[in-house]
């Protein structure tokens, strides 16, 4: 009885509010635990990146010195100049850029067409189409890639950018299924009224789609473009098979980094400090993700907000 009264005392109440929080805001204790956890997890995520960056600016002496862990004795950029040459950076960067933005854009357009068709029209076999869309997501690429490769070889398209662009244009790009479902969900949640009144005014279906539906589904387009670009950039299985012997993307060049390095700096010829070491490899890896990091930090607000607005959950 007494303790209950004491607990209801204004000061006790305030103290409890400070430490444990009230309904309106979190308490000190809660915040402490929250930030500790967030920082710990954040460190786990950033650790590989930090390691990568710090190793990449170490010179050969720092690399061998066990005392030098996190703070290099000097900012050494020689690894980057080497990695830059080995990766053939300007060239592969351009190729990577084109080979991710182009398929992503085409895939986005087609996925929105399909998503709109599924969301707005009644027709038979729709559930079958959904099932097949899901199947394209699940079927592993190696179950379909060999015949495609052989056909491309016969047509002389192997190594040609078209080999990657063509499937994207026909809605069979890398993870196209996800984007179709995002657009389906997006169009389904839009009100139909505007489109119906436009139809009464005699607008054609395609025109309604382009002038009314597309602008109002803008967040879905942003999500689809960003994710499409990122996933195509990082994709190496399909690119390795379809583009082999033709154009080279950045991740492709990274995966044969050792070989390319030894071509440029033959191990028997160069002095010991110019042999391939982790620092150069990490510089190459960092150069590989740098464009994505830049894009991410520029776009990150749109990125998260659009995802929240499109509601990717696909219920």
């Amino acid at each position: 009885m007494i303790s209950a009264k004491l607990l209801q005392h204004p000061i006790a109440d305030r103290l409890r509010g400070l430490f444990l929080g009230s309904r309106a805001r979190h308490g000190l204790l809660f915040n402490l635990v929250l930030y500790a956890l967030l920082i710990a997890i954040g460190f786990v995520y950033l650790n590989p990146l930090l390691f990568m960056f710090i190793t990449s600016i170490k010179n050969a002496n720092d690399l061998l010195n066990p005392m030098v862990q996190w703070v290099p004795t000097e900012l050494y950029l020689g690894n980057y100049t080497k990695a830059f040459r080995v990766l053939n950076y300007p060239n592969t960067l351009t190729v990577s850029f084109l080979m991710s933005v182009t398929p992503a854009a085409l895939q986005t357009f087609v996925a929105s067409l399909v998503g709109y068709g599924l969301a707005r029209y009644r027709f038979r076999g729709k559930s079958l189409v959904f099932l097949l869309i899901l199947a394209t997501f699940i079927i592993p690429p190696q179950n379909t890639v060999i015949p495609q490769m052989l056909t491309y070889r016969q047509l002389g398209l192997l190594g040609d950018p078209l080999a990657l662009i063509l499937p994207a244009f026909l809605g069979q790009g890398y993870r196209s299924a996800i984007f179709i479902l995002i657009f389906y969900q997006g169009f389904l949640s839009l009100p139909k009224v505007l489109e119906e009144s436009a139809r009464l005014d005699g607008a054609s279906d395609l025109r309604i789609f382009l002038t009314i539906a597309v602008p109002s589904a803008l967040p879905a387009y942003i999500v689809s473009m960003i994710f499409g670009t990122v996933w195509y950039w990082n994709e190496t299985f399909l690119t390795a098979i379809f583009l082999e012997g033709g154009v080279t993307t950045l991740p492709m060049q990274l995966s044969r980094f050792v070989q390319a390095y030894e071509n440029l700096y033959p191990p028997g010829v160069v002095n010991i400090f110019d042999r391939l070491n982790e620092a150069v490899k990490m510089s190459g890896t960092f150069l590989n993700i740098l464009p994505l990091l830049v894009m991410y930090f520029i776009l990150q607000r749109w990125f998260v907000e659009s995802v929240e607005r499109t509601g990717v959950t696909g219920e």
């Binding site: 956890l37 990568m52 068709g117 029209y121 592993p140 026909l170 990122v230 190496t236 509601g311």
Partner: protein, 295 residues
């Protein structure tokens, strides 16, 4: 008379609508036939043949199921890799789901510097690619720092029965790697958390429910659909990942001179089968749980 004409008009309108709908999905249907369905059938055909690549094309020698029996009974590596893949997937999926759910709930709270943490937690979505992961694992950054070197850990591992050892070892060496695969899942959880009506929590609090109870009775059931979606997404991503050992093995065998393509195709189908079974198990068990949770 009037009625029938009306009915006919209705039907043609319906057909018209259906035709317009088909027009919108036409590109996709053509693409599906050309780039998914036909290649899948062809790959299956290869898997039943010995395929020899010649200058002009390929020649097929029908061998029935020989490629499959070779993969399952003769090949010393393939079955072992498949078992490893199954174990790793079954270990990874729950970790990814629980971790992503936790992070999403954190990010759904209101606190300072939220956007900074949000930026960090979504970073893996942007940079997780085969070669990058490969370089990082080669440098040993993917495991919990220094844990596999500790004598106590290796002794502990040696004590474990062999059936348990590989999952635990995998967990220790690739824990961070597993966390790196949770980016999209966090997004999906976050999106569905934000759809939950705040007033339900207020009502529950007024009725005297603790935060703990609110989590089990409100939050978790409302994340049921997202959990199923996330589970499927996680399995598919892990199974398609280009550094996946089974995929690497199949890819390497493809370029063998003696019957490489046929054998690789057969292994692809076995792998696909295992993956579908895994998907089925996890999907069905989660769905049963989701339905019970909703009731």
């Amino acid at each position: 008379m009037m009625n029938r004409r009306h009915a006919r008009g209705e039907i043609s309108l319906r057909t018209q609508e259906a035709l317009h709908g088909y027009a919108f999905i036409l590109l996709w249907v053509v693409g599906f036939a050309l780039f998914t369905f036909l290649p899948l059938i062809e790959t299956f055909q290869y898997s039943l043949n010995r395929v020899t690549v010649t200058a002009s094309g390929i020649t097929l020698n029908f061998v029935e199921w020989a490629n499959y029996t070779r993969a399952l009974f003769t090949d010393p590596n393939f079955v072992e890799l498949l078992i490893g893949y199954t174990v790793e997937t079954l270990v990874s999926v729950p970790i990814v789901l629980i971790f992503a759910m936790l992070i999403a709930m954190f990010l759904n709270l209101r606190f300072r510097f939220k956007s900074v943490f949000r930026t960090i937690f979504f970073l893996p979505i942007v940079i997780t690619s085969g070669p990058v992961i490969k370089e990082l694992t080669a440098q040993g950054v993917a495991s919990v720092p220094g844990i596999t070197n500790m004598a106590a850990v290796s002794e502990f591992l040696a004590e474990l029965p062999s059936a348990l050892r590989s999952p635990v070892e995998y967990l220790l060496t690739s824990f961070i790697l597993i966390l790196w695969f949770s980016g999209v899942q966090i997004l999906i959880y976050l999106a569905s958390l934000q759809k939950v009506d705040r007033s339900i929590y207020e009502a529950a609090a007024i009725d005297g429910a603790s935060g703990w109870e609110a989590f089990w009775k409100i939050t978790l059931p409302s994340l049921a659909t997202a959990t199923v979606v996330n589970a499927v997404y996680t399995i598919v991503t892990l199974s398609h990942f280009s550094e996946n050992k089974v995929i690497r093995y199949i890819y390497d065998r493809t370029y063998d001179i003696h019957g490489g393509i046929g054998y690789a195709s057969a292994m692809s189908f076995i792998y696909f089968g295992v993956m579908v079974i895994l998907l089925g198990i996890i999907y069905l068990s989660l769905r049963r749980w989701a339905q019970r949770g909703l009731r």
